[in-house]
Every structure is written in C-alpha cells, then in structure tokens.
C-alpha cells in the first residue's frame, strides 16, 4: 500500500509537471502529426499507401515521444539533484524506476494513436488486427522508454541525452524496417537490424495492419519483451554503479 502511494504520486507528479504541460502536449501531438503528413504526402501514391506507411509512422511517434521525455524526468532531475530525494525514499529501485518510466510509456501509447486516428479518416482500417496492434504499440512504448532510460542514465547532461538518443533514433528509422523492408537493406547492415528492438515491434505492426510480417507475432513480442527486461536491468545496474557513488 505504502509503495503504491509512492509509485502513484511519482507518476502523477511527473505527468503534471512534465507531460501534461501545454508545450509537451502540443509537441506530443504535432510531432506525430507532422511525421504522418510528411510521409503520407511524400509517398504520393494515393491513399492506399497509407496502410503501408502507418506502422512506420506509429513506431516513429512512439520512439520520439518516449525517448525525449526521459532526458527530462531522469537526467534533468539527476542534474538538479531532486533525484536524490527519490533515492532517499524507502522504495526499491525497481519500483522507483518503473514509476519514473510509466508516465513516458503512457505518453508513448497516446502518441501512437495520433496517426491512427488521422488514418481512420483517410483509409479503411477494418482489416487491422487490433489484438496484435495494441500489444505491439504497448511493447514498443515500453522498449523505447527503457531505451531512453538507458541513455538518460548513461549521461549526465540533458543535451548529451538528446544527442545520444538521436544517435540511436535516426538510424532506427532506417534500419528497423519501418518504411523500407529489411530485405532491401545492404547485407552488411542487416545484422544491425536484428539487434534493434524496434525491428520486432515494427514487424508486428506491419503484420497487424496489412499482413506483411516476417516472424510470428508471439516470437516478435517475446523478443521485444526480452529487450525491455535487458534494457531495464542494465539501466538499474548503471544507476547503482554510477549514481550511488
């Protein structure tokens, strides 16, 4: 009960102070909107292409929405020392970090549905397998949040967190099969795709939206789950090692 009170209040405080601020809300909306419009317009091949673009746009929206926020909720708070307050509270580190990240996960999921809602007006989404799409969105949000956490913990300045996460984010747009199938990548780059979590999430999204997926959903989601666990564990290890000096 006590833990739950702490967990809930950390989450609510982060949501109120960081996520639900007008700049963040508008950023959270505008960014996916911009991506969506850009790709839909650029593809130029008519409205049918919306279904092939949608998975990529959804994944990008989640990736950018979540990773940007961790730089604030974690790196910034560490820098101005308010994070020490959390470390001084009687909360296991795992619970503490889940509380710090669950807001970003929710934010990521919300971001994912901006392009979906837009697409609803432009295309026929009746074929979409929602029972695979929704879990995939959630798992991508968790994995990108934990990737953001991993980066946020590894650096000490907010700008470093932003730079470092771009180092991951932009290559992932091209390497994870969001807009171009992985088979079309140069042979040398292919192995890279399979060590990036987004590859598996994007595969499920493609499968759920237009049926073109390379691996069974259950395998994709399990691998994504394994990435989540791994990234979270590494982040905790880093916190213990670097922040509890």
């Amino acid at each position: 009960m006590k833990l739950w009170i702490a967990f809930w209040n950390i989450l609510v405080k982060d949501m109120r102070t960081y996520y639900l601020k007008p700049p963040n809300i508008s950023w959270g909306l505008i960014f996916p909107l911009a991506w969506t419009s850009m790709f839909f317009i650029k593809s130029g091949s008519g409205l049918e292409s919306i279904l092939t673009m949608l998975p990529g746009v959804v994944a990008v929206s989640i990736l950018f929405g979540t990773t940007s926020l961790l730089a604030v909720t974690v790196t910034f708070e560490k820098k101005n020392r308010s994070f020490e307050r959390l470390l001084l509270a009687p909360i296991p580190l795992e619970v503490l970090m889940l509380a710090k990240t669950s807001g970003a996960i929710l934010f990521g999921v919300a971001n994912a549905f901006v392009p979906v809602i837009m697409a609803l007006f432009l295309a026929d989404l009746s074929q979409v397998v929602w029972s695979a799409f929704v879990p995939a969105v959630f798992m991508i949000a968790v994995a990108s949040t934990f990737l953001g956490l991993f980066i946020a913990v590894a650096v000490s300045e907010v700008f470093e967190a932003q730079t470092f996460s771009n180092f991951f984010r932009f290559p992932m747009i091209f390497l994870c099969g969001l807009f171009f199938p992985i088979e079309k990548l140069p042979v040398l780059l292919k192995p890279l795709s399979y060590v990036l979590p987004l590859t598996y999430g994007a595969d499920v999204l493609h499968g759920a939206v237009h049926g073109g997926h390379a691996m069974p959903f259950s395998l994709d989601l399990s691998l994504l789950g394994a990435f989540c666990v791994g990234l979270f564990a590494m982040s905790l290890w880093n916190i213990k090692r670097k922040w509890i000096l």
């Binding site: 006590k2 950390i10 102070t17 101005n80 020392r81 959390l86 470390l87 509890i244």
Partner: protein
C-alpha cells in the same frame, strides 16, 4: 539498546582524493550528535554514505540496527535527510512539495496534507503555501527543505549545515526546532561549521578535519581542560610583527599566541593582569585598541585541537555561501 548509527573504519576515495579516511564512531538513540569541521573535511561525504547516496570503499555502517554496508538503501524507512542544498521541485508549490515528499514515505492523503499544513505553519511559510518553490527566497527554501526532511517523522534525522545561509532570526528559530525534535526523542546527526551552534545544541561532538575524526566527546568534557583557564584577547590597531617571542620571554607565566595579523590571545592559569601587558606592547610600538577577557569556549578547544582558526572557517564558509 542498539546504537542509532554505528560506523566502523569507513573510508571513501574519489579518484585521488581521500574524502573520508577510515572513521569510526557511534551515535546513541535519541542523541544529538554534532559533526564539526571546515570546508572539505568530509562531512557531506559522510552523510551521503550514511544515507545511502554513496558507498564506502571500506568499512561498515549500521543504521538503526540494520546493516547497510552492502545494501546502502536498506534503512531508508528510518531516516530523514536535509541535504546541504535545497533539492525540492522548483515547479511545485511549497505545499505540493511537502505532500509529495510525504507520499514518497507512504503517508495517506489526509495525513500528508495535515502534516504539510502543520509544518508550513510552524516554519512561518503558511503565506507562501501556494507559491512555487522556485520563487522562494534562499531562507524560505532552506526552511521548506528542512520541513520536507521531517514530514514523515523519521527516527533518525540527518541535517547537513541546516543554518548556513539564513538570517539570524530564522537560524535561531531553526535551532529551537532542532532542540524540540531532540527533546521529542529523534536521533539527530548534525553537521555544522558554527562552533557555537554545536556547543549549544549537541550532546556529543566529533571534530573532523581532512577526513579524519580528531576528537569525539561531550561538550562538557571537551571544555573541561580549559574551564579553569583565564583568557584575554588583545586587538591591535597596527600589524604585529614577531611580538610573540618577546612576550613569552618577558611574561613566562603567560601563554601567548598571535591570531591573524592584529590579535593576540593570552592564556594563563592565574587571572591575567592586563596593565603590564598593554604597557609592554605599547613600548614595543604596538598600538592596543582593545583588551578583553574571554570566557573559554568550545571554539578555543577547536582551535587547539585542529589548529584551524574558527573565524577563518566561518568567513571562508560565508564567502562560499554568498558566491553561490
């Protein structure tokens, strides 16, 4: 009864700096224990290790009977911490900050709001309840940080220089509050560089210099050896040069020491006769502007044991404080 804090051979290095060099001490339950030392002595580093924000390189730590040596955060439910710098959330109001800190310790909504109001009242911050913490003055920030450290009524409270950077009236109010908490049974570990503060508040004091504890004792025991001494402090208008030796030769019964460039401290077992001293000085071209009998204080002991001038320590600190 187990000790509230037990430390054995605790050592901490940062790269090439040895911040704390193998210190051992214990704090009894309900005791107000003072940690007194100059800048960079290792006070904050010690608090960080005791509160789970840092790991010692060697040594052991027990807090409230719990072995925290390998699990630095194991005793978090017993402790409250007031860090040397305010670290609350600038974008939350004073009231929200306190409620949030209470929630971190699992207090229910009604209880935490009640405690927050009570503390804001006690600290004279009721007017600023709904103002953002970021807009508070330095003293207000300090007070709210202290309130945040005690909102969950911890058994053991760590205070890192609580009265640095706040006005005299507030400092006095704070000392009163610390004394009240102590009376109420809270164990308090207080670091400070204000010797009078330590003398007035603490049951026992440890002097720490360059990461080493040079002395731990009760205030009475510390003061005792000089209680019977007679001390006179002479302030001069012009700069002294090499007068110490001359004085000792002419007045062998007195122990004379120059402090800084214009002050001479004279100690003796018998009452000091000021007249001959002043005459001697003026004959040697020293213009005396003041001669004062002093009550021996903890400050004298501190100077004696550590060789550090208390005034210098205070000034240095204030400079550092105003520079922030």
């Amino acid at each position: 009864m187990t000790d509230a804090i037990g430390v054995e051979g605790m050592r901490k290095c940062f790269a090439e700096v040895e911040a704390v060099s193998g210190i051992s001490f214990s704090v009894r339950q309900g005791e107000l224990f003072g940690f007194l030392g100059p800048n960079g002595a290792g006070k904050t580093t010690t608090i960080n290790m005791l509160t789970g924000l840092a790991r010692p390189n060697t040594g052991s730590i027990r807090i409230g009977g719990i072995d925290c040596t390998h699990r630095p955060r194991a005793a978090q439910h017993l402790i409250g911490v007031v860090p040397d710098e305010s670290n609350l959330y600038p974008e939350l109001t004073g009231f929200e900050n306190l409620c949030f800190c209470a929630a971190l310790h699992g207090l229910g909504k009604v209880e935490r709001q009640g405690r927050a109001r009570e503390l804001l009242d006690n600290f004279g911050l009721a007017q600023a309840l709904n103002r953002k913490f970021g807009g508070y003055s330095k003293g207000m920030k300090r007070k709210l940080t202290i309130a945040a450290g005690i909102i969950h009524k911890p058994e053991i409270l760590f205070l890192d220089e609580p009265t640095t950077g706040i006005d005299v009236a507030s400092a006095r109010q704070l000392r009163q509050l610390i004394a009240d908490l102590h009376r109420g049974g809270t164990t308090i570990f207080l670091t400070t560089h204000y010797i009078e503060e330590a003398e007035r508040l603490c049951d026992r004091i440890a002097f720490i210099v360059s990461g080493r504890i040079v002395r731990i004792d009760t205030v009475e025991h510390l003061i005792q050896p000089i209680q019977e001494k007679h001390v006179v402090q002479i302030t001069c208008a012009n700069t002294l040069s090499d007068i110490e030796g001359n004085l000792s030769e002419s007045f062998p019964e007195l122990e004379c020491k120059t402090i800084g460039q214009r002050v001479i401290r004279v100690e003796a077992d018998e009452p000091v006769r000021v007249g001959p001293l002043v005459r001697f000085l003026e004959d040697h071209g020293v213009e005396v502007s003041e001669a004062r009998r002093m009550r021996p204080s903890l400050e004298d002991i501190f100077v004696r044991i550590t060789g550090i001038e208390a005034d210098a320590m205070r000034k240095e600190k204030e400079k550092a404080g105003s520079g922030q």
